[in-house]
């Protein structure tokens, strides 16, 4: 039945990237077919799952992995990602294979990259150049901010990424916790800013203002925070046909190297084939690689789009370190969203020739759970227990960080010999964090100590081992030279004229900020390119 489906554009993946492309193209009158490997979960069900789960910090838990389309689960570990190398644990990433994708449980930080992030090689002599510059992307950054609904500091705060228009919404008032940090840190030589977020500070796009449930991760219960599901709904209402539980396992290529069909398995393992004029691979940085590698033919022995042998290589993330301490004043984290401010004084500069740029951010997650676990472990009971929980909830400070990492070909994903329930190979990842990042982390550790001192700290605990931050970049890397990159500046595969990649995998540098707004901007640009190609541009 669905074997006969055909469309102008076949989009593989229904996260923010695929959904934006589908929604734009369908609204312009193109026929669009969107394939999603996972099931559809309603928001209310996810909210209830979160409320019913015991470990509130397990953000994957409210989204039970489908047997036919597993995604990483860590409590207990389902071993979906096979991790190898010296820093394997630092790539124990979280992502979701469900309709709407991983932005169901992001923090909604909607940063633009810095102009120099696009030209690391030519500016600082390390890493790579993207082949496109900030200026080309600036209009799309703004369109992405409008589409996602970004609120930010419209008070003249310079975040280093020049903008022509104000943020669509003013930022939310800072929580008391964030305001205290703002006042103390900025008075002591740090640069702490209110960060741009895809979160409503007023009613916007038929969605309400944030009311501070403080569980942005793993789910905003009221959709004040943007999630990819918003554009899935818009895409469908504009005429996109969405197939759920359709696990794409092969792209079919013709003699002219054009993609002619996508093959998918349903949960029972039956194969289906859909055809189209253009294909947009938007299945996240790892699953997209998996599809390209699984599509190998006699001619494309290393997989599709892989004449450069760069598919699956150059894996990046934002290796994170952290610190936790007790301040000498009550700060009461937990009012408002989980994250509101960032320290941005080392996002750019000549130091980037030697060590990684970074962004530090104050955690505004309510601390009662951690405070309670700690107080119980101290063996307290009765009023002493209550007092300890109250004290720790009010005084606990937690700061985390993102560090840049250079694209290294040896940090890579391959197809494992181990298979999932449908018989498809699991992703096998090899990962090592280099000195460029480690040097920076030493400096971050010192910054943490200084900040803790400003708040008269007690019980300081550093988390110096690098934590994953789920910003999966580099796997289908962009570049001007087809010999060492997978896609061109338009996110089009060098090897296949009608194959586009809407994923953070194309990003040629990691920078120091969350990658979703850049994914969204690149996706809107792909949509424009395809509108032109299909004669649907207005």
């Amino acid at each position: 039945m669905s074997d006969n489906l055909s469309a102008d554009v076949v989009v593989i993946g229904s996260g923010v990237a695929g959904a934006l492309v589908a929604s734009e193209l369908a609204a312009a009158g193109a026929s669009v077919l969107m394939l999603e490997a996972g099931p559809r979960l309603e928001r209310w069900r996810i909210v209830e799952n979160f409320r019913n789960q015991a470990d509130k910090d397990d953000f994957q838990r409210p989204y039970p992995a489908a047997k036919h389309a597993p995604h990483p689960e860590y409590a207990p570990d389902n071993d979906y990602l096979i991790l190898k190398g010296p820093d394997a644990k630092s790539y124990a990433s979280q992502y979701l294979r469900v309709v709407g994708g991983t932005t169901w449980h992001w923090a909604a930080s909607a940063w633009r990259f810095l102009p120099n992030d696009f030209t690391m090689k030519s500016t600082y002599g390390v890493g790579r150049d993207w082949g496109i510059g900030y200026d080309e992307l600036e209009p799309y950054y703004y369109r992405a901010e409008v589409e996602l609904g970004v609120s930010g500091p419209n008070d003249g705060t310079d975040l280093g990424s020049p903008r022509r228009q104000p943020y669509p919404m003013d930022h939310l008032l800072l929580s008391y916790n964030d305001q205290r940090f703002y006042d103390v840190l900025n008075a002591n030589g740090f640069k702490l800013v209110s960060e741009p977020v895809a979160r409503n500070s007023r009613p916007y796009d038929q969605r309400p203002t944030c009311c501070g449930n403080n569980n942005c991760m793993p789910i905003c219960p009221i959709a004040a925070m943007y999630s990819g599901i918003i554009h899935v709904d818009k895409a469908e209402r504009a005429g996109t046909k969405l197939l759920t539980n359709a696990v794409v396992y092969r792209l079919e290529v013709d003699a002219q190297d054009r993609i002619v069909a996508a093959h998918y398995k349903d949960p029972d393992g039956n194969s289906h084939r859909v055809t189209g004029k253009y294909f947009v691979l938007a299945a996240n940085a790892l699953e997209s690689v998996k599809i390209l590698l699984m599509s190998a033919t006699d001619k494309w022995k290393n997989g599709l789009a892989n004449s450069s042998d760069q598919v699956g290589r150059n894996l990046m993330d934002h290796p994170g370190t952290g610190v936790t301490f007790l301040a000498d004043e009550p700060l009461w984290p937990g009012r408002g969203p989980m994250e509101m401010t960032s320290i941005v004084d080392h996002r750019d500069g000549e130091f980037r020739r030697e060590w990684a740029s970074k962004k530090l951010h104050l955690n505004n997650q309510v601390q009662t759970r951690h405070a309670t676990l700690k107080a119980l472990s101290m063996g307290l009971t009765g009023k002493a227990l209550d007092d300890e929980i109250r004290y720790r909830s009010a005084h606990t400070v937690n700061i985390n960080s993102f560090h840049d990492i250079l694209p290294e070909p040896d940090n890579r994903m391959r197809l494992s010999d181990q298979k999932d329930a449908l018989g498809l190979p699991r992703p096998e990842i090899t990962y090592q964090i280099g000195d460029y990042t480690k040097k920076s982390a030493v400096h971050t550790h010192e910054a943490y100590a200084k900040i803790a001192e400003l708040f008269g700290c007690r019980e300081i605990e550093f988390s110096d081992s690098f934590a994953p931050n789920n910003h999966l970049m580099g796997s289908v890397i962009m570049g001007a030279d087809p010999r060492d990159s997978v896609v061109d500046g338009q996110c089009r595969a060098h090897d296949h004229a009608n194959l586009y990649m809407a994923t953070s995998g194309v990003m040629a540098s990691a920078g120091s900020v969350n990658c979703t707004l850049t994914i969204a901007a690149l996706s809107l640009r792909i949509a424009d390119t395809l509108k032109q190609a299909l004669g649907k541009a207005s």
Binding site: V47, N52, P64, P221
Partner: protein
């Protein structure tokens, strides 16, 4: 006491002069234009004559009527697309008698039966405003095309004969100046009865049930008579004023749907004196009790939470089906709180002591869940997302909405009320259609049958004469 007719008349005239002179010194045109602007706000012309995102008064707003969509016209002073070519007499005929400059009849979606009560001076002020105070916009608005037989606008002539009272408002000298001002505002300008008075089979206001509540698509415009159970009898005047100005009274009610629009576009802009006058008049409307009502709508419910029994029992699941308690927790409690009591500042209102859940009718509860609340009043945005098919938060099914509505009614509202999935489906389609709308398929046949019968009688008579 009996007045001499002449004295009575003079008294009434004096009273009328005082009533209409809210904006003093109409000696300069600008004053008249300003007065017209205020009156246009009070009459809420902009609400219907402006399309969403369109230019003010340029028309094109689709009014969903049971008979089909009626599009408002361009009433800007553009000669090409609007009413720029209208003389004051033509303007008056349209406003008060529902007759356009070209002689065609307006549909009573335009509340000319209310505007018929406007004082001539106010009609002049409105005319001056629309000619000189409104930006002209060229281009006619989208035309209304109702299906036959409603497409025959001449039929409205007969309807007017039955239902249009052309007499302007007559003040009642036995009542206070304030009451009379309120009566004028309520009856003529604000045209409150258009929604709050139920309509008869021919879609005219049922005068015997004045202000006893009427259906309005998926919404229900409640009883605003002075009855203490069904109406506003136990509301204070100050509460009525606060409601009209801000769209809500904590512990009683909040405006949503068409009433939120009336507050946003019109009522909040009225002077305090005018709002007080409206309250005085409304508080004096004759009591009409709905037999279904046993206690005031805002007196139902109390705090209740099922959280403690839910957690630990309901696990993590991939199933998209659940019962009312879980749906309530996920969909409502994040803002209205797990107890349904709202936030401390009541920005998110309590669900108990809330007329939306407490009346003898659950239509507004279903409409609010489907369409949400959008209201900008008092410089503040009030927004509740809807959960209908176009929701970007979480579209819910008919059964889910019925489940969550019944859960909230059981714990926070009138537990006697029950909502079925069919009720929700009906609300999605814009509510129960009136009798007239159910007839169109039948009407041509009825007309045909009458013609045939008349023809038959004539033929018989003719035969007899011959015979």
């Amino acid at each position: 006491m009996k007045f001499h007719p002449l004295i009575r008349r003079a008294g009434a005239f004096g009273l009328a002069a005082a009533l209409y002179a809210t904006v003093a010194h109409a000696d300069a045109d600008t004053d008249l234009v300003k007065r017209g602007e205020y009156l246009a706000r009070a009459a809420d012309c902009v609400a219907c004559h402006t399309a969403p995102g369109g230019k003010p008064y340029a028309g094109g707003y689709g009014i969903e009527s049971p008979l089909g969509t009626i599009y408002s016209t361009n009433i800007t002073p553009s000669k090409q697309g609007g009413i720029g070519g209208y003389s004051e007499a033509q303007f008056d005929a349209a406003l008060r008698h529902g007759i356009r400059a070209d002689g065609a009849h307006l549909y009573p979606a335009m509340p000319y039966t209310s505007y018929a009560k406007l004082a001539p001076d106010d009609v002049s002020a409105l005319y001056q405003y629309f000619m000189h105070g409104v930006e002209p916009v060229d281009g006619a608005a989208k035309a209304t095309e109702l299906p036959f037989p409603f497409s025959v606008r001449l039929a409205m002539a007969g309807w007017n004969l039955l239902f249009l009272d052309k007499a302007p408002f007559q003040p009642d000298p036995a009542k206070s100046e304030e009451w009379n001002r309120g009566a004028y505002l309520v009856e003529a300008l604000e045209h409150c009865s258009s929604c709050h008075t139920p309509r008869n089979a021919l879609m005219a206001e049922s005068t015997s049930q004045a202000y006893a509540g009427g259906a309005l698509g998926a919404w229900y415009a409640p009883n605003i008579t002075s009855d203490p159970v069904s109406g506003l009898g136990d509301w204070s005047e100050a509460e009525v004023v606060q409601y009209l100005k801000t769209g809500r009274v904590v512990g009683k009610a909040q405006a949503a749907g068409p009433m939120a629009e009336a507050v946003e576009h019109s009522l909040q802009h009225l002077s305090d004196a005018d709002l007080k006058a409206i309250a005085v008049y409304v508080k004096g409307l004759p009591e009409i009790r709905d037999a279904r009502d046993q206690q005031p709508g805002h007196s139902f419910g109390k705090a209740h939470s099922d959280e403690a029994t839910l957690r630990g029992v309901a696990g993590v699941s991939a199933s998209n089906s659940a019962a009312g308690a879980e749906l309530f927790s996920a969909v409502c409690a994040s803002c209205h709180q797990p107890t349904g009591s709202g936030t401390r500042d009541q920005y998110y209102p309590s669900l108990s002591h809330n007329t939306t859940l407490g009346r003898g009718d659950a239509r507004n509860l279903v409409a609010v869940i489907l369409h949400g609340v959008v209201r900008r009043a008092d410089g503040k945005d009030v927004f509740m997302p809807g959960f209908g098919a176009d929701s970007l938060v979480n579209p819910l099914s008919d059964a889910q909405i019925a489940d969550v509505a019944n859960y909230t009614l059981q714990h926070y509202g009138n537990p006697e009320l029950k909502v079925s999935a069919q009720d929700v489906a009906l609300a999605r389609q814009g509510g129960e259609p009136p009798l007239l709308a159910k007839l169109p398929g039948l009407l041509p046949w009825l007309v045909g049958a009458v013609v045939v019968i008349i023809g038959l009688i004539a033929w018989l008579i003719g035969r007899r004469r011959k015979g």
